[in-house]
């Protein structure tokens, strides 16, 4: 597992370097937005990776409630933490992108609002974990919030979509962006997902080590 994590770490670094070179140097600037648009190569992969991370939280939470094995709980916890980091990156890069293109750092647009709510739900999830001392109880409580949070996000996205939206259409929709911009985006997406899996493996291992130390100290 450690070797695999190491390989993934190196792989993520290499892929990121290639992806960023393609996005920042090789790809042509956007016809309308110019170089500003290059932030897409970080913005879009990070939100997609965050969605992946929270889907993993959902699956691991259900599995933990059904099976009760610590491994599922560690996976859910690790994935939520990494997911929150990627969501924060999305919000930050989106804000930086919004200022020159829309003229404001923040707007109450559907996608922005939805992503902010997503962020708040999983920050709450992590805070809940941090205040419950007993690991099994923390795991069960968090699993419930992880499951409800995921379904709530679906409703939130529906609700905020019915507001007027300012955001450009999803960059992945067919014809939304030029093929010359598509390949670098895909390479970056691959790099982010590899990075996610690397972080996840490391965080799961850290969680296992924490529990082992605790058990030893308590003489378990």
């Amino acid at each position: 597992m450690d070797r695999l994590a190491g390989i993934l770490g190196v792989g993520a670094g290499v892929l990121l370097a290639i992806g960023l070179w393609m996005g920042l140097v090789q790809a042509p600037p956007d016809a309308v937005q110019g170089d500003v648009q290059r932030i897409m190569y970080i913005h879009v992969p990070s939100i997609l990776t965050a969605y992946l991370a929270f889907t993993v939280v959902l699956v691991a939470s259900i599995a933990y409630l059904l099976r009760g094995t610590r491994g599922w709980d560690r996976l859910a916890h690790a994935s939520a933490e990494v997911g929150v980091v990627f969501t924060a990156i999305t919000l930050a890069t989106g804000s930086i992108w919004g200022k020159p293109t829309w003229g404001v750092w923040w707007t109450w647009d559907a996608r922005l609002t939805g992503t902010a709510v997503l962020f708040l739900i999983y920050v709450g999830y992590l805070m809940l974990r941090s205040v419950v001392d007993d690991r099994d109880r923390a795991g069960r409580y968090a699993a419930v919030v992880g499951i409800l949070g995921f379904f709530d996000i679906i409703f939130t996205h529906m609700a905020v979509k019915w507001f007027r939206t300012l955001h450009q259409p999803s960059s992945l929709e067919r014809g939304a962006i030029d093929p010359a911009l598509y390949l670098p985006l895909m390479v970056n997406l691959g790099a982010f997902i590899t990075l996610y899996v690397y972080f996840l493996l490391r965080r799961v291992r850290l969680g296992a080590l924490e529990e082992a130390v605790e058990a030893e100290v308590l003489g378990g």
Binding site: V145, L148, G149, F155
Partner: protein
């Protein structure tokens, strides 16, 4: 005991506690009056502004009052370790959840009627003709709020940081309810049919069903010790 019997028992027990202590109703009356006063000061005296802000403020008032109501449903069980005994109740713990949801809804609907009356009185809004169309919005919006609120109140009831944590967990999940119920309330106050925007109604119904089912399924894991 079948789970519906357990639901009925919880309902009878909690309503009896309420009838005898009147703690909930009294606090609620005072709290909602206070909120309406504060809202009025916050938005100034222009009648047009008041009307525009009314749907959102109404739901804000419901949710703030409801937050206190939700926390209360499990706090009364903390005294004398009542929660321990509830846990030992024969039958499906899901029945306990449904009982608490019904109690929570009853309390909130009572509170909502009071708040509506206060809004009518202090904001010069004529509530009587619009109360009919508003009823389904109040019913649907409240069920969704209570379905999640009851579950999260059970989670936070035994935590040290419960006063902070309950709103922190609950409020972000309430965004769909606030948007949908707020919009429908706006239609209702304007005297329009709710079916003018049926997608909001469908969203509320879907939200209620999904979270009642999820709450029912996950509640036993919250109660496990």
């Amino acid at each position: 005991m079948s789970f519906l019997a357990l639901t009925g028992q919880i309902l009878r027990k909690d309503l009896r506690i309420e009838m005898r202590s009147r703690e909930g109703v009294n606090t609620l009356l005072f709290f909602s009056t206070l909120l309406v006063f504060l809202f009025r000061f916050a938005i100034g005296s222009s009648e047009a502004q008041v009307r525009e802000a009314a749907p959102g403020l109404l739901w804000l008032a419901f949710i703030l009052t409801g937050l206190w109501g939700m926390a209360r449903t499990f706090q009364i069980e903390r005294e004398n370790d009542c929660l321990e005994f509830l846990r030992l109740a024969p039958g499906d713990l899901g029945g306990l959840y449904l009982g608490k949801v019904v109690v929570g809804c009853c309390l909130m609907w009572a509170a909502e009627l009071v708040i509506l009356a206060m809004f009518g009185l202090f904001f010069h809004l004529d509530m009587l003709p619009v109360i009919g169309p508003l009823v389904p919005v109040l019913l649907l919006g409240t069920v969704g709020f209570v379905a999640i609120g009851t579950l999260f109140a059970a989670i936070t009831a035994n935590l040290k940081a419960r006063e902070v944590l309950l709103p922190l967990l609950l409020f972000p999940l309430m965004v769909p309810i606030l948007l949908a119920a707020g919009r429908l309330t706006d239609l209702g106050l304007a005297g329009d049919s709710l079916w003018a925007e049926p997608h909001w109604l469908r969203l509320l119904v879907g939200f209620d069903v999904v979270f009642l089912v999820l709450g029912y399924l996950t509640f036993p894991f919250v109660m496990e010790d």
